[in-house]
Assembly symmetry: C2
């Protein structure tokens, strides 16, 4: 089977630092190559793949801000569309714009909806619901207004998240500093548990950081700033537990899967995709309040870190994701 | 011949107030209908045409700012592209994005380049140079990097600009208040000519207005603010001359054509499309300096207002524009 993977061109694929959609497009492409699939990755020219790279955009528009994003986007998308006849299936990771070319080409298209930036983009998905196959990244993230052919969870590269059998004694908050992610609640949980808390992430909401986080920093509540790949694996792996007391219905939650891959259980508020990502009582705890989270911290040391690793490796690996997508392609192409 | 006209969807077609690209798309469509052509105008649903209206966008994104412009654009463009097989030719007034669908459809496309918002959009035009026919709105506005099949001047509705044989004694500045349009130079010319100056237009550059225009306002230099259609025809028609001392290479200059249609000669700096729009010494004067413009004001009363009208009606009418475009379509379709 000849597969074209359409990555966004905000960043290169895989991204050097940030770029979750590019990361997943890359993980799918490399996972399919490992399965023996003939993969062409449409991405920026500075991207890397074990398959074939197809590129007309030299560098991502977020990496060279002098460029016109709309120009790059439409040149990149049309480059693939004009070559559509070469492929058995096109797998779109590039939001809604590619959909609007899909009825003009002979090749079936699978679109992973990585997120809805706004309800205003739904009409495009609705228009193309009959002619493209939508994949959700969790059951929780499905729009009731759209049909889906499958849910395929985000898959991670196992070597990036090695198992750590023996943790340190700290709790970890890992993510954007923003009310959505519950940084302030994580501090409450840690203080009431008399545990050390490490906080890693970019400050997305400066007022929230200033008012709700910064005044509570101490020897036991430490803000580390953003963490790169090497520090990330160490922080995640050596934590007693990841605290994830989110304030919104999170569509997935990469750090939740990453922590478990390292063997670290997760204590999360039971919203969004959390019930799909965590086996409560086995690989972490789903709770509704800070008080319940404090109780969970007392029990978290009894969970098997090996079970966390096994669960995450079975469900959130690059290999599993690639195999699931290959099954989707086979269903689509057969039609 | 079945023609699809693709208008932008920032405003309705024709626009209620502002919207020059929508105005020209509408003028082409209505002019073609008058020539007996089967025209479908792809525009906002609140648009008006004597042909067939095709619309999926209820209202322009500039008229209802709660909408996502990119969503409206791609739904609007793909609506036409998916119906491309119904038409002999598609005439694109919608900038570069529609070009990127053009190789996926069987119908030839003519694209009027109404302006380059930035040099960064040129790569899209270059990519599609071999497969779409570009029309410039003046010889002066041509990019040396692109091939063109024709220049077709903007065409105006003659009833909107009635001839005025006997003018008043004022000079007129008509356009955006901006250094590009030379408001300050127009004031100098009027003062040195001891003539009254009326200034009509939106303030686009507030600092320029505050520093270079406002301090010079007086009983003889009057700022009127923006003028609607009714006031516009009166202001243009009753002026002794329109002053157009531009500071940039203007691609066309609608007010220059409009003034002449009303019988009013134009004194302009000889830049951009001005040598194409004005017959110097007959329908106005092309000059290079404020001093030369002052000399021109002394002579402008001797020009025949009838000659201005005739020249503009022959070259810048809706009828002429529609006939010119029909000839372009016939050349393209025959290929």
């Amino acid at each position: 089977m000849k597969v074209a993977i359409l990555a966004p061109v905000a960043w290169r694929s895989p991204p050097r630092h940030y770029g979750p959609w590019e990361q997943m497009a890359s993980n799918v492409a490399e996972g399919l190559v490992a399965l023996g699939v003939d993969v062409t990755l449409f991405a920026t020219a500075d991207s890397a793949t074990a398959g074939t790279l197809a590129a007309v955009v030299a560098q991502g528009y977020e990496e060279d801000r002098t460029q016109d994003a709309k120009v790059l986007e439409c040149l990149h998308i049309s480059h693939l569309m004009e070559r559509a006849g070469e492929f058995d299936v096109i797998h779109n990771h590039f939001d809604f714009l590619p959909l609007t070319y899909s009825r003009l080409i002979p090749t079936p298209m699978v679109t992973t909806i990585h997120g809805f930036s706004s309800a205003r983009i739904l009409p495009v998905y609705e228009k193309y619901a009959a002619t493209t196959a939508y994949v959700s990244i969790s059951h929780a993230d499905r729009s009731p207004r759209l049909p889906y052919v499958a849910t395929v969870y985000n898959g991670l590269r196992l070597p990036d998240f090695p198992f750590t059998a023996q943790p340190d004694d700290y709790l970890l908050f890992f993510g954007r500093i923003h009310p959505d992610k519950g940084t302030a609640e994580a501090i409450q949980i840690a203080r009431q548990s008399h545990k050390r808390l490490l906080i890693a992430g970019i400050v997305q909401d400066a007022a929230y950081f200033r008012e709700r986080v910064e005044p509570l920093l101490s020897e036991d509540v430490v803000f580390l700033g953003p963490a790169g790949p090497a520090q990330r694996q160490q922080l995640l792996g050596q934590a007693l537990a990841l605290l994830h007391p989110i304030g919104f219905d999170e569509p997935f939650g990469l750090s939740v899967a990453e922590a478990q891959l390292c063997g670290t259980p997760v204590i999360a508020f039971a919203r969004g995709a959390m019930p799909e990502l965590i086996q409560s009582g086995r690989t972490g705890f789903l709770v509704d309040t800070v008080g319940q989270a404090v109780e969970a911290v007392q029990q978290v040391g009894q969970l098997s870190r090996g079970a966390c690793r096994e669960w995450a490796a079975a469900n959130f690996s690059q290999q599993k994701m690639a195999a699931d997508y290959l099954a989707v392609y086979q269903r689509i192409v057969r039609h």
